[in-house]
């Protein structure tokens, strides 16, 4: 009988044993080494053992009796020290075993980030029963806290298990969304929401700096200064194939042990299977291909022909109640199309990626019923062109009638709930329609349906349409873009009503039709989010136009214009010298005095931007935001200091206003003017906000224009003091920020909402104070110089990609 030695009693080698037992039970005399003091168990089910939803006994695949029945000599708890290929022996801690055929099933080891403190007690990986037991013990302490580093499959399963065990759990993930290798941003958002509902704290883009404590871990420090006290730190950041033994005995290894399609290594009598294997450059971590390998290897050992083939893999997460699925390639790209289905009410998101009439990727959250069918289409490369229109609805809809939303609404029984917020059912709405409410406004007034959060507006309109037939015409409001049927106003209202604080939240909860929006809606949504949630939402540069992204105006030859801020149009000899020096140093071809009372340097190369900003920063100047949908300039005249006609210190007020408002983002650009007397040298009456100083105080007027349209400002308020004028201006700007449609200048917005409404709103002292307060909260984030920020953190992005070695000009 041939002697077969197996190193490692994992799931792959266990499956090899099962195949040998089933097909040729007496062919080999088998010795099985395992460094863990136990045999084969279903390692991927450790998560439910951790949570208490399974026992270890339930996940044992082969127990002692099984090994005895199948005459496998077990050397468990014994490490293999070396393999002597010349003598064909495996050298264990307790002695040698000769082999005719040898299988490496050494699996993988968890990767531990070499952070300061990573070797303290209480820092565990998540790989085997010992790790699981350590976590269970940590959870036994009252009010115990865990930090899980890694928001991938294993980390999240550990987090959910520890939470069920009663711990306070924080997950740290370095990426912008959870499970980024398996999920897109939208599904990652839903997963995060689901985990947060379980009381798990999730911190994204978390940069872990160090694990502190005495002998044992006591807290995790993040780079942003956050301190997370903890009793245990679980590192689940990835695995590495365990190949040292194979390498030491001279087998060919790349990232893992290289094998051919028969699982044979560079030594014809030695095979490898499982996570320690590299095949055609691929590594393996999921169980399905491991089982395929095991089958091929068993056949190879018995002299039968078979070959291992790579196949598409799918992912599932073992957290009770989290239904997700992903398979294939779901990156966007040219020539790829997305089909997206969202059901915000049920928390469902499905996305299919199609290329050349084939389904190449699928991501699903909340509804995974058809996952296997989609997976089959991906694996088989089926031509889906015939069923493209109804593909997203799954196999049940193929060959049948297409889903008609109106038919679905018509089929709803009278007791079906339409408006969840106010508990209004279809029957109530139908009765109201029959009672004479024939448009949305009347339905809102009579039934309250769609009067709160508004997500059912479309549904209410469909009920109107179904009931009234062609007597009801769906309102043709202009949607934001092709990604949604909602208007800007709807989106703004819903972002506030539903407390949507991230782009993925907007895409999902407002049922966006595309995965991540488009070039039209992204800048608008980015603005709405940062205006409504300044502290919670982080400005997304990728959602900005190029000028705002690069904090300079791109010119028609691809160069940029750079314009430092001159507060109220006042400058100094030092500033002028610095500007002149910068113009010389960077060979600026054009230096222009602008209509906004400042100096523009035109023709600056992109790669020079950070350096010229640095020089100007050194001279005390900051960005003039000449490129932004935000505060541009405050134009002033010289006022009482020098002018014989001046009634107030218009320059001083202009400077104060500019210093208060600079850096704030608004729906469109905002320009101010402050004139010291009604002669209006600062041309204040054609600005978004204009102030005319008079003997009795300050006439604040708004909604002027001097561009494509020319319009005089309208009087908003007469202020007696400078403070009062500033308070009104800031309140007006904040009201515009909170209510304006993106890319509506202030005069267009005021025309829509009416000046009377603006006056009435701002006349209330409490409202004005609250607007000022919210403006200041926002400014605590945005009143900062983007040049200095970019110099520090984003300088590399301004360098040309073609020449990475170019030295900085400094």
């Amino acid at each position: 009988m041939q002697k077969l030695v197996i190193i490692g009693a994992g799931m792959a080698s266990g499956r090899v044993l099962e195949h040998l037992r089933d097909t040729a039970p007496d062919t080999f005399e088998i010795t099985l080494f395992n460094a863990e003091p136990r045999g084969n168990y279903n390692r991927i089910m450790l998560s439910p053992v951790l949570s208490g939803e399974k026992t270890y006994d339930e996940i044992v695949t082969h127990d002692d009796a099984w090994y005895a029945d199948n005459k496998v000599t077990c050397r468990f708890g014994e490490k293999v020290i070396a393999v002597d290929r010349a003598r064909r022996v495996v050298i264990g801690e307790n002695g040698e075993v000769p082999y005719d055929k040898l299988i490496f099933g050494t699996g993988s080891s968890p990767f531990i980030i070499p952070l300061p403190g990573h070797d303290k007690q209480g820092v565990v990986a998540y790989r085997d029963l010992e790790d699981t037991t350590a976590m269970m013990q940590a959870a036994g302490k009252p009010n115990a806290r865990a930090v899980v580093i890694g928001g991938g499959l294993l980390g999240l399963e550990a987090a959910a298990g520890l939470r069920l065990r009663g711990m306070e759990v924080t997950v740290l993930h370095i990426s912008t969304h959870l499970m980024e290798r398996q999920l897109d941003e939208a599904a990652g958002y839903l997963l995060r929401r689901d985990l947060e509902k379980r009381g798990i704290n999730v911190i994204l883009q978390a940069s872990t700096q160090e694990i502190v404590g005495g002998a044992a871990a006591e807290a995790v420090h993040l780079a942003d200064g956050t301190v997370l006290p903890c009793d245990i730190v679980v590192m689940a950041v990835g695995i590495r194939p365990a190949v040292q033994l194979a390498r030491d005995c001279g087998l060919t290894c790349g990232r893992a042990i290289e094998v051919d399609a028969q699982m044979q290594t560079s030594d014809p009598d030695i095979y490898a299977v499982g996570e320690c294997v590299e095949f055609n450059g691929n590594l393996f971590g999921l169980v399905a291909p491991l089982y395929d390998q095991a089958k091929v290897l068993a056949k190879t050992l018995l002299g039968e022909e078979d070959a291992f083939k790579l196949r598409e893999l799918s992912t599932k997460l073992k957290v009770t109640g989290c239904d997700l699925f992903s398979a294939g390639d779901f990156a966007g790209g040219d020539g790829r199309e997305d089909i997206v289905f969202r059901d915000p009410g049920r928390g469902v998101y499905k996305r299919l990626v199609i290329e050349d009439d084939q389904l190449i990727g699928a991501v699903m959250y909340g509804d995974t019923a058809d996952a296997n069918w989609f997976f089959g289409l991906i694996k088989d490369g089926t031509d889906i062109s015939e069923m493209r229109d109804s593909l997203i609805f799954g196999p049940a809809f193929q060959g049948g009638a297409q889903a008609d939303p109106m038919a679905a609404v018509a089929a709803l029984p009278p007791e079906a709930e339409i408006c969840g917020c106010n508990g209004v059912c279809k029957g109530t709405i139908t009765a109201a329609i029959e009672g004479g409410a024939t448009d949305l406004g009347a339905i809102r007034a009579t039934t309250k349906a769609s009067a709160s959060c508004g997500t059912c507006t479309g549904l209410v309109e469909q009920v109107l349409s179904v009931t009234l037939g062609d007597a009801f015409v769906l309102p043709a409001a202009q949607p934001v873009c092709k990604c949604t049927d909602l208007t800007h106003e709807d989106v703004r209202r819903l972002i506030k009503a539903q407390q949507l604080k991230s782009q993925p939240a907007v895409w999902q909860q407002l049922a966006w039709k595309t995965p991540n929006g488009c070039h039209v809606c992204r800048p608008a949504i980015n603005y709405y989010l940062l205006a409504d949630w300044p502290l919670e939402y982080q400005d997304d540069l990728q959602s900005r136009f190029v000028n705002e992204r690069n904090h300079a105006n791109i010119q028609k030859d691809g160069t940029y214009s750079v314009m430092p801020r001159m507060w109220g149009g006042i400058t100094t000899p030092d500033e002028l010298r610095a500007i002149a020096d910068a113009a010389d140093k960077f060979k600026v071809p054009t230096v222009k005095v602008t209509g906004g009372q400042r100096i523009d340097l035109l023709g600056v190369k992109k790669e020079d931007l950070t350096d010229i900003w640095y020089d100007l920063n050194q001279a005390g100047m900051v960005s003039g935001h000449a490129y932004s949908k935000g505060l541009r300039t405050v134009k002033t005249c010289v006022g009482t200091d020098h002018c014989r006609f001046g009634t107030q210190d218009s320059t001083g007020l202009g400077i104060k206003l500019e210093k208060k408002l600079w850096g704030s983002w608004t729906p469109h650009k905002v320009k101010l003017g402050v004139s010291g007397c009604p002669r209006n040298c600062a041309e204040a009456t054609c600005k978004d906000v204009g102030i005319i100083c008079v003997d009795s105080g300050y006439q604040v007027s708004v909604a002027g224009a001097a561009g494509m349209d020319v319009k005089e400002t309208e009087r908003l308020h007469d202020a007696r003091t400078e403070e009062e004028a500033i308070e009104w201006v800031a309140a007006f700007v904040q009201l515009y920020r909170e209510n304006g449609k993106y890319l509506d200048r202030a005069y267009k917005w005021v025309a829509k909402v009416s000046l009377d409404w603006v006056k009435e709103t701002l006349a209330d002292d409490a409202t004005r104070a609250a607007l000022n307060e919210r403006f200041e909260i926002s400014q605590s984030v945005y009143r900062k110089d983007p040049w200095a920020d970019h110099n520090q953190s984003r300088a590399a992005l301004y360098q040309p990609l073609a020449d990475l070695t170019q030295e900085a000009a400094e």
């Binding site: 115990a144 509902k197 169980v287 019923a369």
Partner: protein, 313 residues
């Protein structure tokens, strides 16, 4: 699994019965009474209006109701129950949206050896508090439970609440939140079945059945997932998501295998799936995997039978 390894002397639950609305009253649809013939007889002749007796109270108050003593209570079959040695009962209403589908009533016999727990947890101020519970002889555990609360995601009740899914926990001894875990371990409670009980009005209730070694609540548990979002819309069916059995061991399958699936009307589970009504089956060994009795309880969510929980004893 430990809970079901040894042959029990007595099970924790003696009687299980299902009351369904007929007109404006609840009538007995089916029940398992073991050898308690006279109580069975009394029940067959009973019916309850809304608010009347224990089933009627669960209907009227739209919540699970625990009744720990019959004497002087609204319980209407007190005499027959006392003769049968039954001392406590729990009524669980099964609602589909606002519609009452049925009321499941389980009755227990009190003596000093039967340990187990049937608990009702209710959300209050963002945490789950014990609404009421029947604990048999596990008095200390009862006291501890009264002084415990569960945030979302923690422990069996918190886990069920957060996931809106029934859960079967094998390891209450070390995991059921430390303070209860300690006491649960001492009381011999090892296995726990938790399930969401949806009621009109949106209040959150979680029912937990905790089973002990000597007097198990059941010897086989099955959790069936019937959500269209999991099993598809083409054909009404349910898959066995989790389960344990004293005889067959673990009932779940690994990631690469297909779970057991039943279609509507296929067997008792299929019947529950099709009708949306709970079922009690006894005396037909083929239908009850060799056990005396099977209780199957549907959980209706979003207008569909989303889950079916079954226990066999």
């Amino acid at each position: 699994m430990d809970a079901a390894l040894d042959l029990p002397v007595k099970t924790f639950i003696e009687v299980a019965e299902i009351w369904i609305p007929e007109g404006d009253r609840l009538v007995l649809a089916e029940g398992h009474y073991g050898a308690l013939d006279s109580f069975a007889d009394a029940s067959r002749h009973a019916s309850f209006a809304r608010g009347e007796g224990l089933p009627g109270k669960a209907w009227a108050e739209e919540r699970p109701v625990v009744l720990k003593a019959f004497d002087g209570s609204y319980f209407q079959r007190t005499e027959a129950a006392q003769e049968a040695g039954l001392t406590a009962a729990v009524a669980v209403p099964v609602f589909s949206g606002k519609t009452l589908k049925a009321v499941l009533v389980v009755l227990c016999a009190n003596d000093n050896v039967r340990t187990g727990a049937i608990e009702v947890w209710k959300e209050n101020d963002g945490v789950l508090m014990l609404d009421d519970g029947y604990y048999g002889a596990a008095r200390h555990f009862e006291w501890v439970s009264q002084h415990t609360h569960f945030p979302r995601g923690q422990g069996l009740p918190g886990g069920v609440w957060a996931s809106q899914t029934p859960m079967l926990m094998r390891d209450l001894g070390s995991g059921y939140r430390f303070i209860r875990a300690d006491s649960a371990g001492k009381a011999g409670l090892t296995t726990g079945l938790g399930l969401p009980i949806p009621v009109p009005g949106g209040a959150t209730y979680v029912l937990a059945l905790l089973s002990a070694l000597g007097t198990p609540i059941a010897r086989r548990f099955e959790l069936w997932d019937a959500r269209a979002a999991r099993v598809g819309k083409a054909e009404k069916s349910a898959v066995l998501a989790d389960g344990i059995c004293a005889r067959e061991g673990a009932l779940w399958v690994g990631e690469t295998e297909e779970p057991r699936r039943v279609a509507a009307w296929q067997g008792v589970i299929g019947r529950v799936l099709a009708t949306g009504l709970p079922a009690v089956e006894s005396g037909t060994s083929a239908l009850t995997h060799g056990y005396d009795t099977l209780v199957a309880l549907p959980i209706h969510l979003d207008g569909e039978v989303a889950h079916i929980v079954a226990w066999y004893c």
